[in-house]
């Protein structure tokens, strides 16, 4: 199969106004991915499916990922002049990563038996601009997986034929797979908890006002 650079070099001239980023991946398997702007996603997906050299006709897996707004700390080595002597000092640089939701498509080819090509789409933020184009018109297999992502992450797929909750009930409010979701507090703790469980249990249940008041026995 072609490398991602070759794919990118072929897509960008044939689909004008399209910009594709390559996301690095440091793990030994090293599956890098194509990051596509939401507005051009349908065109790119159609290209990947129909192109004769790629024929990615099989969309195996669709995943939703939540990236809340976080501060990323990276160590940077810097050369500093300390009293006239040049020294190497490690400095921690903080960068703010904006929050967004991400949808990842793993594409394979059943005709040519190669793959995967990983395609990523990103929403603008996590609150009000969570729209992405649905790729169900290109790969039918994405339909229920996109519904699941809508249900659990709250990504709204424009052009999806039947966007309803899939796993939770219809009256449910909220998106439980997001990292800041707080589950309802219905745990049941043992009567004699210890350590950190005790702190959690105290928060949930009031401690009995008087310990073990024996009922009065009528004489």
């Amino acid at each position: 199969m072609e490398t991602l650079e070759q794919i990118k070099a072929r897509i960008e001239p044939s689909l004008p106004l399209t910009k594709i980023d390559l996301l690095p991946n440091e793990c030994p398997a090293g599956e890098r991915s194509l990051v596509v702007e939401a507005s051009r996603a349908l065109a790119v997906a159609g290209f990947l499916r129909d192109d004769a050299q790629l024929q990615l006709d099989y969309c195996s897996n669709v995943t939703g990922i939540d990236w809340p707004e976080t501060v990323i700390k990276t160590k940077v080595k810097k050369k500093v002049q300390v009293e006239g002597v040049e020294q190497e000092v490690e400095e921690i640089v903080e960068t703010l990563r904006s929050g967004h939701l991400e949808v990842v498509y793993h594409l394979y080819s059943m005709a040519l038996k190669h793959g995967p090509v990983v395609l990523r789409l990103r929403t603008e933020n996590r609150t009000d601009k969570t729209h992405l184009p649905s790729l169900t018109p290109v790969w039918r297999g994405a339909e229920f997986q996109e519904r699941e992502i809508f249900d659990l992450y709250g990504v709204i797929f424009d052009g999806h034929p039947d966007l309803r909750r899939l796993l939770m009930w219809d009256e449910f409010v909220g998106f439980p797979m997001r990292r800041d979701y707080v589950a309802p507090d219905d745990f049941e703790y043992e009567p004699t908890p210890h350590d950190e469980v005790l702190a959690a249990a105290r928060k949930h249940y009031p401690v009995a006002a008087t310990p073990e008041v024996k009922p009065e026995v009528p004489v």
């Binding site: 030994p28 398997a29 099989y58 038996k113 229920f144 039947d162 796993l167 439980p176």
Partner: protein
């Protein structure tokens, strides 16, 4: 696509059937099959609209067994998720373990010793045997063969579960594979016992096929019913025996050649019509191929360690990165997608459930069929709700 707001929430409802020009044409019956129904293989619900006995609309409803596997796995360490994978598809805990172990090995770059690879193949093929056997039993039960084929299937399943139990300690939830190998080695007696059960399995398959393959009722109920066209199967990401019955030669054991599958000589059975009968035949033939793989694996298994000495069970922190790993489970492509951020827990843990994705074309297969056939079509898909809803 039609609108769905008018489907009933539960129970049944009778609605007038109206021709496009407004003339009344009789009545449509809307019923909800499940989530408690003997033929739904668990807690699965279908909202069905019937015209007489013919299905005109069918909407699957999921989530009655959604037990938050992915969310829980993101809050615990990599190894702690291993027992949870057992409970995904609770017929095939061994292949689930393998898929997860394989993905983490890809993520962390671990090697698996030779003997462990053979043990994994043996376990996976035994799982395939018992899964397909039980599926055919359940599916015959859906057609009205109450009990008998299922009794035969469970008789054989118990033998395989005894093997699993003697090596892992549990009948169903084996929790046997580890990152970089398997938990405990198998003994010589175990291998001898397995050899005996595997060679007897051919006889059992012959017996099973005598009763079913040429059976008049089975043929009448399944041939030409629930046809899945090749193009739809590919576009809808169908995998496993369903896909191969539709005529696509795509078996990950041949395509990815994960583990040591390149060493075994086996064929991939492919159907021609894509109907239920083909799905049944593909499974039966796959079991015969599994017996072949098992026999050569049991003959060639080398001695040696079963764990990679570099593998760390405690304090396991893979480097940041992401990986997608997949194997050919008995139900189809079982994949795991992991994102590591360098901490002991995965940042994102996703299961690609073959049962759920194979169910998505249920409506296409059932439209225009009789309601009693819809039950058989569902039976031929091979679903386990633990994996559908996770």
């Amino acid at each position: 696509m039609n609108s769905f707001a008018d489907l009933p929430k539960s129970g049944y409802e009778v609605r007038p059937k109206i021709a496009p020009d407004g003339a009344p044409l009789g009545e449509l019956l809307e019923i909800s099959i499940g989530p408690h129904h003997p033929s739904t293989h668990g807690v699965f619900r279908m909202d069905v609209v019937l015209d007489g006995e013919t299905v005109v609309k069918l909407k699957p409803v999921f989530g009655y067994l959604h037990r938050n596997h992915e969310k829980i796995a993101e809050n615990i360490s990599y190894l702690s998720s291993m027992p949870y994978t057992d409970r995904l598809d609770y017929f095939c805990s061994m292949t689930n373990n393998w898929a997860y172990a394989l993905t983490v090995e890809k993520l962390a770059g671990l090697a698996v010793p030779e003997r462990a690879e053979y043990i994994r193949v043996i376990m996976a093929e035994l799982t395939r045997l018992q899964n397909h056997t039980c599926l055919i039993g359940f599916f015959a039960q859906d057609m009205g063969a109450l009990g008998t084929p299922l009794m035969y299937a469970f008789r054989e399943r118990e033998k395989i579960l005894d093997l699993f139990e003697s090596v892992s300690g549990a009948r169903m939830m084996c929790n046997y594979m580890r990152f970089g190998g398997v938990r405990v080695d198998v003994s010589g007696e175990w291998l001898a016992q397995t050899k005996k059960i595997v060679s007897d399995y051919r006889k059992f398959l012959d017996e099973f096929e005598t009763f079913l393959t040429q059976n008049e009722i089975l043929m009448a109920r399944t041939q030409g019913v629930g046809v899945l066209p090749r193009e739809l199967a590919i576009s809808a990401s169908i995998t496993g025996p369903m896909l191969r019955a539709a005529g696509v030669n795509y078996d990950l054991r041949k395509v990815d050649k994960y583990g040591i599958y390149r060493r075994f000589d086996f064929q991939v059975p492919v159907g021609a019509h894509g109907d239920i009968y083909d799905r049944y035949m593909v499974r039966v033939l796959e079991m015969r191929e599994s017996v072949k793989i098992l026999q050569s694996a049991l003959a060639d298994i080398p001695a040696g360690p079963v764990m990679d000495p570099k593998a760390k069970l405690r304090g396991f922190r893979p480097k940041a990165g992401e990986v997608y790993g997949r194997i050919e489970g008995p139900k189809g492509e079982l994949g795991f997608y992991l994102i590591s951020d360098g901490s002991p827990n995965p940042y994102r843990y996703r299961v690609r459930p073959p049962s759920l994705i194979n169910l998505t074309i249920l409506e296409d297969m059932c439209l225009g069929q009789k309601i009693s056939d819809a039950v058989v079509i569902l039976g031929s898909v091979d679903i386990v709700l633990g994996e559908v809803d996770r």
